[in-house]
Amino acid sequence: MERALRMIVDPANGAIVFPLALALYYGVWPWFLGLSSMVETRETFALLPWIAAAWVAIGALPFPRRPTAPVDASRARSFVYVVLVAFTMFAILTLATAPSIPLIEALRGAGVEAIALSREEFLKARTGWEAALPYVNALFTSSLLPYALALALLGRQRGALWAVAAFFVYSLVFMEKAFFLRLLLPMMAVIVVAGVRWPKLSWLVAAAVALLASNVVVSGFGANGIDDFLLYRAFEVPPLTVADSIDHWQQRYAGMPLRGATSGWISTLLGLERIPFEREVFVYQFGDFETGTASSNAAYFVEAYVNFGYVGVIINSLLLGAVVGYVGRSEDAALRCMLPLILYTVFLGGMFALLLSNGLVLLLLVARWIAAGHAAPTPGRAASLADVRGS
């Protein structure tokens, strides 16, 4: 079990594990779910995951496996400090200006609706200058902070574990059931990449399941049984959302490519009117929500397909494959640790947001800058990862 987990989490195997997961989870599993979708949706859904999986694997081919090399310790340390200080200020600001704290609401015994509302209002439903907070949060928690923590842990920086603990507490404040995975997944990869035997990944997985279950209980979603809810969320909701997204697109837009209008960045760049597609899918699935910010995210290939058709799926998958190959086989061990989180994000959500809003492009640039520092060493810089020979 432990060996299998390490093999799955190992970033170097991402180019095999991810396409396989796409093909099995979205290509085979929905056959057993009996989804009652439109015929066009069923036809498209039967094809999309396989095309996506194949092109991700092909996209990763040009990137050879590289051994771990040291990074510029000085630049890495500076980056870690800057990110931690900036994130601390951001977290204080967010908590101070929030109308309510979801975790505290839950502990006070608020109902499911009240907690859900508090969760939406905590970040997503902010207005005015506060509307920028969700984007800053995504930028920090999806890429910069996990990368900084991986750098700090692998570089054995002082206080690294305290920073991990602080991020863990912040991730619980949201009451977003799986938000803590943004910390857990890179940390699992750190364990694999660093080649340490303790803690065991199976323990972490067990702890994650227990934490998910307790989140479900506190949020009040487990009225029909926690295990039922977790199984439903894990095994039915993602394929169902893919089917519903395509259904909605066929019905509302008659299968017309949206040309990037679902992405804030691309629509602004091309001067298109923004289409809040994920929110529309939520309304299609469950009806209106009070704050109007609830959304249903589907795997990245859906976003690519509704915007640019099969060409979009092929290009996005090739690009994702390149990211998988580049990041998963990078010389920077901390960057490699980011791969499980990146793949988790696109497995359940869009890729345009991952690249821009979630800061993947920025992360790659930062990683490049940190690595470049080591290529041209200056006196006083020390290699911190010389002892890390994970792969």
């Binding site: 439109m38 015929v39 066009e40 036809e43 498209t44 094809l47 396989w50 095309i51 194949a54 092109w55 694997a57 092909i58 081919l61 040009p62 990137f63 050879p64 590289r66 019905q251 299609y284 009806g287 058709g309 099969y310 060409v311 799926v313 092929i314």
Partner: protein, 265 residues
């Protein structure tokens, strides 16, 4: 050690690019060829308005959807049109219906056939089959209301006749002795007032029943308009077939080249 580039001997892509390209071109050609071999399918779609009796739906939309999905209704449709087994299977597999959110008295229906005319005929037949089933459900309710209307009209006619009779009787009061005239007038006036009241009640009942049975509040299940049938085939989709062909071609090309390199290195 210098990192391997696309053109160096140690790079994993060395020797894969050409087979990938050849595989891709062959895959595209195969996908394009398949487009001409696979039979075309056309789609008919449209909305069916669910019938109602006095504003109450004859059948809830969920039950109507279930009825549309039932094998019995589907077989009735295919038998009536006398279509072959292949086309019948396509119809059963592609018949899809939903009640749009916020417009539950409408059903959106889509289905496919191998030609446009059959698709249209199938849609019309599905609507007719549903309409027939709903008419059977509604018949009892409508006839009960129609009978009640007839009864009320009969009663009104009887009241009118009785009232006319009374009015004639009132005309004869003048022949009575003056001492009896007052008492008789009072009695007739009371009876006439009762009849008038009865008449008003009956007229109200008739109006209510007539209004309930008016075409705006009681109507059968029927398509909103003629189904729209796609001009071009909805299947096979060129983009899907070409994408699948390209993917398979490139994947097979790369796999074969990789395997060959591994075997003969």
């Amino acid at each position: 050690m210098r990192p391997a580039t696309l053109f160096s001997d140690t790079h994993p892509m060395t020797g894969l690019l050409r087979p990938a390209l050849i595989g891709g071109v062959l895959g595209l050609a195969l996908g394009a060829a398949a487009l001409f071999v696979v039979p075309q399918q056309f789609e008919a779609s449209g909305a069916i308005k669910l019938g109602q009796v006095e504003d109450k739906p004859i059948e809830p939309s969920a039950a109507s959807l279930q009825r549309l999905r039932s094998r019995a209704l589907q077989e009735r449709v295919t038998e009536k049109l006398g279509i072959g087994a292949g086309e019948a299977r396509l119809f059963r597999e592609t018949l899809w219906a939903t009640a749009p959110r916020g417009a539950e008295s409408l059903l959106e229906v889509r289905l496919r056939a191998y030609d446009r005319d059959t698709a249209r005929a199938l849609f019309n037949e599905v609507a007719a089959a549903l309409s027939l089933a709903h008419s059977e459900i509604a018949a009892k309710e409508v006839s009960r209301r129609a009978a009640a209307l007839d009864q009320a009209r009969r009663e009104l006619r009887a009241v009118d006749a009785a009232r006319a009779e009374l009015e004639r009787s009132v005309g004869n009061i003048g022949r009575l002795k003056p001492s009896e005239q007052f008492a008789e007038t009072i009695a007739y006036t009371r009876v006439l007032a009762d009849r008038d009241q009865q008449r008003v009640e009956l007229q109200k009942r008739i109006d209510r029943l007539e209004e309930g049975l008016a075409s705006s509040r009681t109507f059968p299940t029927a398509p909103v308009e003629a189904p729209s049938v796609t001009e071009r085939a909805v299947f096979p989709k060129p983009s899907a077939f070409l994408a699948a062909g390209l993917t398979i071609g490139v994947a097979v090309g790369v796999a074969v080249a990789g395997l060959r390199r591994r075997l003969f290195r």
